[in-house]
Symmetry: C2
Subunit: 127 residues, 2 copies
């Protein structure tokens, strides 16, 4: 399969797939004309990557997950560990954003938003 078809099947831009090859996540073969040739297993891998990335796993997480996926003697504990770390990151990020949201929400509510210059948002930023 050529990169364009793979892009369609895996739901990733061709550019991203090339980038994933660059950083060693997939190793497609090359045909005589120099085009990348993807096996079914590569397409599968890329779809896996797409889903892992959609869940917010970092590229390095993805690398580890792919390794574990390929290793049928893995311990699920290892996978779970990675996922839990990531869950922690997500929770921290949500907490951070929620706090921003609260502060900023209050400020926005208290701002008249009219033609006058008085603005609690700026007042707060300026302290």
């Amino acid at each position: 399969m050529n990169i364009g078809d793979v892009a369609t099947h895996a739901g990733l831009p061709a550019k991203t797939i090339r980038y994933y090859e660059d950083i060693g996540l997939v190793q497609p073969k090359r045909s005589a004309n120099g085009y990348r040739t993807f096996r079914q297993s590569d397409v599968h891998k890329l779809a896996f990557l797409g889903r892992a990335r959609a869940l917010g796993f970092t590229i390095e997480d993805c690398r580890s997950l792919l390794k574990l996926y390929a290793d049928t003697a893995r311990a699920s504990a290892e996978v779970k560990h990675i996922a839990q770390e990531h869950l922690g990151r997500i929770d921290r990020k949500i907490a951070e954003l929620t706090e921003m949201r609260a502060t900023l929400g209050n400020l926005v509510e208290s701002c008249a938003g009219d033609h006058r210059p008085d603005c609690p948002i700026l007042a707060d930023l300026a302290v």
Copy 2:
């Protein structure tokens, strides 16, 4: 004031302050020895930037907010508009993360996390 003191007062790393000068957010003077010299108003500006960044505003937002702050004839509507746009971004981000959290949370819960290879997390990623 030299950059080190400003860093302390404004709560920003010196590197960041230099960067902010680079992109035109502050314009400190220079003393004879080439050192940056910050006026009180610069320090104030940098503290403003620090707070705006802590609320997640982009650098470009900050640039606009500083301009509005300096303009005593501003309409608070303009400030509110920027803040509301940002609020929307935050809300979308929170929604995205919350969805990730839900999916990943379920997967993590359903994973035994022991020495055995069976893993619902990998199973889900592989589809």
